[in-house]
Subunit: 359 residues, 2 copies
Amino acid sequence: MARSSTNKHPVGKAAGRRRGAGEAAAASGTVTLGMVAAAAGVSPSTVSRILNGTAVVSEDKRTAVDDAIARLGFVPNPVARGLAGGRTLSIGVVTQAIDSPFYGGALRGIEEQLGRAGYSPLFVSGHWNATEEARCIDTLRSRRVDGIIVLTGRLSDAALADCARHLPVVVTGRKLTAPGLYALHFDNFEGGRLATHHLLSQGHRQIAFISGEPRHPDAKERLRGYRAALEAAGLPFDPALVMPGNYTEDSGRMAVERLLDSRVAFTAAFAANDQMAYGAALALHRRHLHVPGDISLVGFDDLQSSVYTIPPLSTVHHPVFELGQQAAIAMLQLLAGETPTAQLPAPRFIVRESTRALS
Amino acid sequence: MARSSTNKHPVGKAAGRRRGAGEAAAASGTVTLGMVAAAAGVSPSTVSRILNGTAVVSEDKRTAVDDAIARLGFVPNPVARGLAGGRTLSIGVVTQAIDSPFYGGALRGIEEQLGRAGYSPLFVSGHWNATEEARCIDTLRSRRVDGIIVLTGRLSDAALADCARHLPVVVTGRKLTAPGLYALHFDNFEGGRLATHHLLSQGHRQIAFISGEPRHPDAKERLRGYRAALEAAGLPFDPALVMPGNYTEDSGRMAVERLLDSRVAFTAAFAANDQMAYGAALALHRRHLHVPGDISLVGFDDLQSSVYTIPPLSTVHHPVFELGQQAAIAMLQLLAGETPTAQLPAPRFIVRESTRALS
DNA sequence: TTGTATGCGTTATCAG
DNA sequence: CTGATAACGCATACAA
């Protein structure tokens, strides 16, 4: 506890500044490309070329350099690289909340794929706010990222397309075509249809729907899927069965309470995401309604924790990890001047224990 | 879908390179400090000084510069700053999994605090593997972060202390003193004691404990708290009641199954983290044991989702968000040459609905 | 208080 | 195939 103010790390450059270029800096631990060049008896340009594969170099020089690199433990400085070459080997990722249980998997997928290509992700959070997202993008651009991946968000398509005029952009959660931009889209309509269809196939006819915010494109699509399934089964759409939510647990809880209070009859409920399903389950529990005994419940997204809810939640699997991976791959392709072709797997409905056939 | 291969963003520097220093680059959108200086009729150093508050500048020049900055929309280039000044205004954060439901809150706290100081976090994942963590730190150092925050992890104290000789380091989850390093520690012992004490106060005498991995310092502490509470109540410690887990839901599930199979009697269970408690609850559910009717259950950490489990989980609140905030604040203080004093709030037990007095 | 000169570590241009 | 040389955009030591 009683540490004195050592002041070990003064802000700013450590001692040893202003030293000649060739001078050894063993003490400071910083091995530069120039030092490698000197040690290998070649010019800095040659070392740089070997590092980047920019041009063909004779075998002997190459081994000499490789040798020197290993001996000195040289590590290229991405900062200098960024300044001189214009690329930082880092990709900006605009997520909505760094601790989102939903996007978490996507971040992992991105991290994994970028990592194996030598790129680092730079995560920033937009908090579902177009203004903040725009600020995030400014930050990322000022940090000279080589490209930007945007996970859904509220930015306008136009803003995104504009951004793509400067930098490669990959965006998820929308359908959009623009130069320098690739959109990765999950079939939320089909997912909504699948979930509803499952309930229908179990004999349910009065299916409540807890929707996400209408501003969300995927929320609208999921609702559309619900309606399509109903229609296909020859059932009328009853607005009284639809309760608005906002993708949070609490909104799911409240939706069920309002549903119950409204006395509309239903034997099953479809929450437009798992988090709302959790809240819905709790509300039912509080009213002594048993899932699936009294009410069947399905969610959407298949969060990691949905395997461990009580009862385990039947839901539409959303391949977020793959989403992240594909987004990263698409970005890498954009960077390489290729045209991405990445595609997401089709939605699958996962049957667990929260639904039961109506007897 | 049918986008042609536009090749809009060739890897490497865009056109416009190698232009004279003073030359306007309006087209490319890059406004440099030098251009601001020219526009304001002062030298670059003056602009730099104003930007960094490095020295006192006359009022008229200052306004002229501020004006030019606003007019040209100048944004300093952190990359160049990093190269020239040796500081990148970015802080490396070694977490274990970018999608961890536990550390997520901490990342948010870090992001928030660093952001308001103009710093950006650079998140990397160590995956509970000392080797990977070491590699993470290498990556961060090569990217010239100004400091490193390590969230627990498996790195040795010595490795951390060594790292702190080059860079300021803040580490959570351990007690450790070293120059240039600040350790932020949560009282896991007290937390374990509190949880057990709650169960005891409800009349439970046979309390099973599902432990975390013994390699984890906090897992050991939580177990120690359990034992201390037992002892304080004059109860013997029964090893048969302790089941090893590894902090995952599934290990919690399996622990309960083994407990039940072993036929050891218990009326309550304390899982060393919420995730294991979720798994434990599911195992009990499968065996038709009701929580809290048949078995009382408590967790540790108070994850966001523990409010919405069925039943809502009684647990020890772990202030992860504050942990992240304090870690960031401590880092900022270290950077300023101050001695951090940040401290974490004491553990609190949150009573929800998963425990019941033994009748 | 302000300007000048220089260098941070790398890549890119251009001449050999 | 290789090596000078000049940027990249900024911060700092030093001079004025």
